[in-house]
């Protein structure tokens, strides 16, 4: 959907005017709203949604690897507003070479472990994260298992 079409959806319209330049496109599919956000604007978009649109909860953060496409990774945020009984999904594209995005831990402290998990399994670095280290795997693990070029079976040599 283009930005003009998104204006019909209240949350999308509010975000487009509240955080200018953040929304690049979006989709309303199977009763779920998805908004693509410019990666460098993710913090301001989230801050606006929490402060002005009552999205008090961050449900989860994860990523999708679209290897060999470029930009390779998609960082996915699921936000929820219990008060408005509404959910929204935000997505940011980050490059495969040295993937980095700003952390949203300053907005929801609960983002901490989700960002650590995404870092652990995809190797995406979150800037300004207070404690970015592996969470599931041992500290000395090599590679990032949820990347598509990481094998499912086999032995380490």
């Amino acid at each position: 959907m283009t930005l003009d079409e998104l204006q019909a959806l209240p949350t999308a319209a509010a975000l487009i005017s509240g955080a200018p330049g953040a929304v690049t496109s979006g989709k309303y599919d199977r009763q779920e709203l998805m908004l693509e956000i410019a990666a460098e604007r993710i913090v301001s978009a989230c801050r606006f949604l929490k402060a002005e649109q009552n999205f008090a909860r961050l449900s989860t953060i994860t990523a999708v690897d679209w290897y060999p496409e470029e930009p390779r990774f998609e960082v996915v945020y699921h936000l929820h507003s219990p008060e408005r009984n509404e959910r929204v999904r935000l997505k940011c594209r980050v490059t495969g070479e040295n993937p980095e995005i700003d952390s949203v831990t300053a907005i929801w402290r609960g983002a901490n472990w989700y960002e650590r998990e995404t870092f652990d399994l995809f190797g995406i670095r979150f800037r300004n994260h207070p404690d970015l280290r592996r969470i599931m795997l041992p500290e000395d693990w090599e590679g990032y298992p949820l990347r598509k070029d990481y094998p499912v079976t086999g032995n380490r040599v």
Partner: protein, 413 residues
């Protein structure tokens, strides 16, 4: 020395006094490693506690001991095979995970599930809630020193597991819900078995309450313990009975009904005290409400098929395979290569016994999921431990983490 500096598994360390012995009057801090093999951590949770005497200065949960790469494994299994992995995520609520996974795929496929299958799903998912809450109550009470409650709870849990076994042939890893409906036709005589359980269950809840609700020791150990503000819980992503014990009336079964929950009459219990005791009362009342739902499902169970009318997804009946060419072809195709799911993405949410359980599923149009992310409620709930136990006594840590009701399989996946 801060907690984070300690390498590997350290048992007990004391800070070396920097000053001369006669000046050493300042409080000493001790680091205690609780878990990962500690009975009250219910699984393999490691807690690094920094203690000042008996008071917790800081706590740091360490997870990952049960990480099995389930999310990666989804990507190499076809959609129907993936159901068996979901059992192993939250092993105390396997059917809740089955349900959420199937609902997500069905949403992508856009298929309609017949009422009979939906109601059976509701009934069995509520039995799962009872099963999970019973394990929680029994082990939580043992942690605090009430031994006998455990035996009472496991008596009823056994009845529930027998019902699961009757339905699916399995007590724990049921995999009974499949994409498109149920794995098998409900067994003959299920009504009698469920009725005899549900007729007696409310009086059994009274028994647990008799043992605990007015028990002086129980109240002393749980009232006013493990408090954490509602705003902080929302910030940390805590969900489920913990939020309801703090006064937030939010339950996905009511706010975003799925699998025809909107047709059932039940209440969402809430409390405002926001302590371990309130969480106990909320879960006890949830058990009574689940029993109500099961009774309604039992009495109003619609007739009809247990699988959807979707021949490309659901395996055909044996009889049809022997008489119809198309059925045989579908059977061959489903078994050898699975079925393609339209490209797209969904985030399906249900209310598991522990809180918000979400499956984020991305399909690229093939027969295997491109990506499955499981938002387990335990993962987010565990994050709130440091805030909950800071400044309390070490004995209260046991009560506080017991009241969270986490499953490490659910958090580590």
């Amino acid at each position: 020395m801060s907690v984070g500096d300690i390498p590997g598994v350290t048992t007990v360390e004391t800070e070396t006094p920097a000053q001369a012995p006669e000046e050493d009057m300042r409080p000493r801090k001790m680091t205690l490693n609780m878990g990962p093999q500690h009975p009250s951590t219910h699984g393999v949770l490691r807690l690094l506690l920094e203690l000042d005497g008996e008071t917790i200065v800081s706590a740091q949960p360490d997870i990952g001991y049960l990480h099995t790469g389930i999310e990666k494994e989804f990507e190499v299994k076809n959609y129907q095979q993936g159901v068996t992995l979901t059992d192993r995520i939250d092993y105390l609520a396997p059917l809740s995970n089955n349900l959420c996974y199937c609902l997500a795929v069905e949403k992508l496929l856009g298929i309609e599930i017949p009422p009979m299958a939906q109601w059976t799903r509701v009934m069995l998912t509520e039995l799962t809630r009872l099963n999970s809450h019973l394990v929680w109550l029994g082990t939580h009470a043992i942690d605090i020193g009430a031994m006998s409650v455990f035996l009472y709870c496991f008596r009823e849990r056994e009845d529930i597991l027998r019902i699961f076994e009757m339905y699916s042939g399995q007590r724990m890893m049921t995999s009974y819900f499949r994409i498109g409906g149920l794995a098998l036709e409900p067994p003959r005589g299920w009504q009698k078995r469920v009725r005899s359980f549900i007729d007696i269950f409310p009086s059994r809840v009274d028994e647990y309450e008799e043992l605990l609700t007015n028990n002086g020791i129980w109240i002393g150990r749980t009232k006013g313990v493990g408090r954490i503000a509602l705003e902080d819980m929302l910030d940390w992503g805590v969900t489920g009975p913990m939020l309801r014990a703090a006064g937030l009336k939010w339950d996905t079964r009511k706010s975003q009904p799925y699998s025809s929950y909107e047709k059932f009459d039940f209440e969402i219990p809430t409390r405002t005290e926001n302590d371990v005791y309130a969480r106990y009362l909320v879960r006890i009342e949830e058990m009574r409400q689940s029993a109500r739902i099961i009774k309604q499902a039992l009495e109003g169970m619609p007739a009809g098929r247990w699988t959807a009318d979707a021949p490309h997804v659901v395996l055909p009946e044996r009889e049809k395979m022997k008489t119809q060419m198309e059925a045989l072809i579908y059977h061959f195709k489903i078994v050898t290569e699975g079925f393609n799911v339209p490209a797209g993405e969904v985030y399906q949410v249900i209310e598991s016994p522990r809180g918000e359980l979400g499956y984020y599923m991305v399909s690229d149009g093939t027969a295997k999921p491109y990506r499955v992310h499981v938002r387990g409620p335990s993962f987010a709930n565990l994050q709130a431990i440091p805030e909950m136990v800071q400044g309390t006594l070490i004995a209260d840590v046991i009560a506080a983490i017991g009241s969270m009701d986490f499953v490490l399989g659910d958090s580590d996946r």
